[in-house]
């Protein structure tokens, strides 16, 4: 689905990532760890085509990112749900419409998906906030809304950047349960986090692999975690 081959990325002054190779197969569950500033977010951006590698090849669903047009990238993003660390929304639209935004931009009938949307909001504990505008939401609520928005299209891959960064323990457990549930349905999951507790508790429920970025390189972490 997502294949990186000897990928390097530099922001002009020296390489941030180099010789990164990874193959995300369908249904896999990955954690991505590493010190802050090590390039976790850059790595995720490479995985959904927001960045083009400065060296090597990145393939999304069998197509090289370099050969993709802007429209191709847009179509690919409908199959990859992304949760950013700093979730951004359309601040003038209520939460429910923000969560349904991927449906709107892809021309899907939002009326048909109303029950789906309700269930999803209920699951994320956001039903009572459906009419609230994004600036009125708390950090945790924003995080959950971003996750709901990322999964509403039922994407093949979900990439999440510190999805539990702003939520309390109980809510982070709930979010992880949702992600594990999605993984059991066959979705590919990749979560960047530095919360080892989350990784440990998840590994007891699902076969997850832990990737670590050390010295600009991606390594498979040992079983000690």
């Amino acid at each position: 689905m997502i294949e990186l081959e000897n990928v390097a990325y530099s922001y002009g002054g020296g390489e941030l990532l180099s010789e990164v190779s990874l193959k995300l197969s369908p249904g896999s569950f990955h954690f991505l760890t590493g010190p802050s500033g090590s390039g976790k977010t850059t790595f995720l951006r490479l995985c959904y085509g927001a960045l083009t590698p400065t060296a090597g090849h990145a393939q999304l669903f069998g197509r090289d990112v370099r050969d993709m047009t802007r429209d191709d990238v847009a179509m690919t993003r409908r199959r990859i749900g992304v949760v950013h660390q700093d979730c951004q929304f359309l601040d003038h639209l209520p939460l429910a419409e923000n969560v349904a935004l991927p449906l709107i931009v892809s021309g899907r009938d939002t009326l048909q998906e109303q029950t789906n949307l309700k269930d999803l909001l209920g699951w994320c504990g956001l039903s009572h906030r459906a009419k609230a505008l994004p600036p009125e939401l708390s950090g945790g609520e924003r995080q959950r809304a971003a996750l709901a928005r990322a999964v509403i299209m039922s994407p093949d891959v979900i990439l999440a950047d510190e999805p539990t960064g702003n939520v309390d323990y109980e809510m982070s457990q709930r979010l992880m349960t949702l992600l594990i549930e999605l993984n059991r349905m066959g979705k590919t999951i990749m979560i960047a986090t530095h919360d080892l507790g989350i990784i440990r508790s998840t590994k007891s429920q699902v076969q997850a692999r832990v990737l670590r970025i050390v010295n600009r390189r991606l390594q498979l972490a040992g079983a000690d975690l």
């Binding site: 927001a50 960045l51 802007r70 429209d71 847009a74 179509m75 690919t76 993003r77 409908r78 992304v82 950013h84 951004q88 929304f89 359309l90 601040d91 003038h92 639209l93 419409e97 935004l101 991927p102 709107i104 931009v105 892809s106 939002t110 928005r149 299209m153």
Partner: protein, 301 residues
């Protein structure tokens, strides 16, 4: 072909969800509306100028071209004979519908503004005038001059082209200026709308980022902006067009004495011309916003 149809659908599709994803902007919206109204108002005047001067050039050209004057200056005893000879030549000239020697009353009337009504025309050695009216084809002035030179040595043909040409040329220049103004107004409007669209795109950078993230194609994002500005330009130009038409309608009607100035306006079916202004404004706005949006979007991840 498909691209063209897409563009048409883009413009015509009803209130779509795409319109809602961009937050409404109150102030710039009214500025765009105002600018396109002003431009349309000016465009209506430029249009009126072009059409009026076009009409003027045509009228002057046609009226003056169809008449000419023959002046016969000769010793008093030969005038009558030469006049008859000239009339004979004119009768056999192709393209002359009629030729008539002016009577002394008429000549006196022509001279009255300069010499007063009491001028004893008969006692003065003034030349005899012959008025020539051309038919539709017109006559060959150079050929006629040659024939007259041979048969009526004292005749001078004036086909008015000497002073008709600069007038017609002036009118045609004015008309060209009018069209040029319309083009410039269209260009200025495109520039204003491009600036407004760029401002709107810059102000909504976060909206665009979010839309890209959730998989919106560029055409979807551009549509939200393009539709908005196209509609604003169309409505604004409509208001300006109506105001311009009312202003022109309120101008005093054309009079013989007023000539050019009061002739500014539309006649009959020409009143339909201003209706072209709002659609043209919409087309200009559509292209201006579209290229601005595409330029901005291309630079984003």
């Amino acid at each position: 072909m498909k691209a063209l149809r897409d563009r048409f659908n883009l413009l015509m599709s009803g209130e779509g969800p795409a319109d809602r994803v961009v937050p409404p902007t109150g102030f710039t919206a009214s500025l765009t509306l105002f600018a396109s109204a002003v431009m349309a108002f000016l465009a209506v005047f430029a249009l009126a100028l072009s059409l009026a001067t076009g009409r003027l050039a045509h009228d002057w050209g046609a009226e003056l071209a169809r008449s000419a004057t023959l002046r016969i200056s000769a010793p008093e005893d030969q005038i009558e004979a030469q006049t008859q000879a000239a009339l004979r030549v004119l009768e056999t000239t192709e393209g002359v519908a009629s030729a008539r020697a002016l009577g002394s009353d008429e000549q006196r009337a022509l001279l009255a503004p300069w010499f007063g009504p009491d001028l004893p025309v008969d006692d003065l050695p003034i030349p005899q005038l012959i008025e020539i009216v051309e038919d539709a084809q017109g006559f060959d002035a150079a050929g006629l001059r040659l024939r007259l030179q041979a048969e009526v040595p004292g005749a001078v043909l004036d086909d008015h082209s000497r002073w008709r040409r600069p007038l017609v040329r002036a009118a045609e220049r004015l008309r060209a200026l009018g069209w040029l103004s319309i083009l410039l107004i269209g260009g200025a409007m495109g520039a204003v709308i491009t600036l407004a669209a760029n401002a709107a795109l810059a102000a909504n950078a976060q909206v665009i980022t979010v839309l890209r993230l959730v998989g919106a194609r560029d055409v979807f994002i551009a549509r939200a902006f393009v539709r908005r500005f196209t509609i604003r330009a169309f409505v604004g130009a409509g208001i300006g067009m109506i105001a311009g038409c009312l202003a022109i309608f309120a101008l005093p009607a054309a009079q013989d004495e007023g000539g050019f100035l009061t002739g500014l306006g539309f006649q009959g079916l020409q009143w339909l011309w201003p209706l072209v202004v709002p659609p043209m404004a919409a087309v200009v706005a559509f292209w201006a916003t579209r290229s601005a949006a595409n330029r901005t979007l291309k630079d984003l991840a």
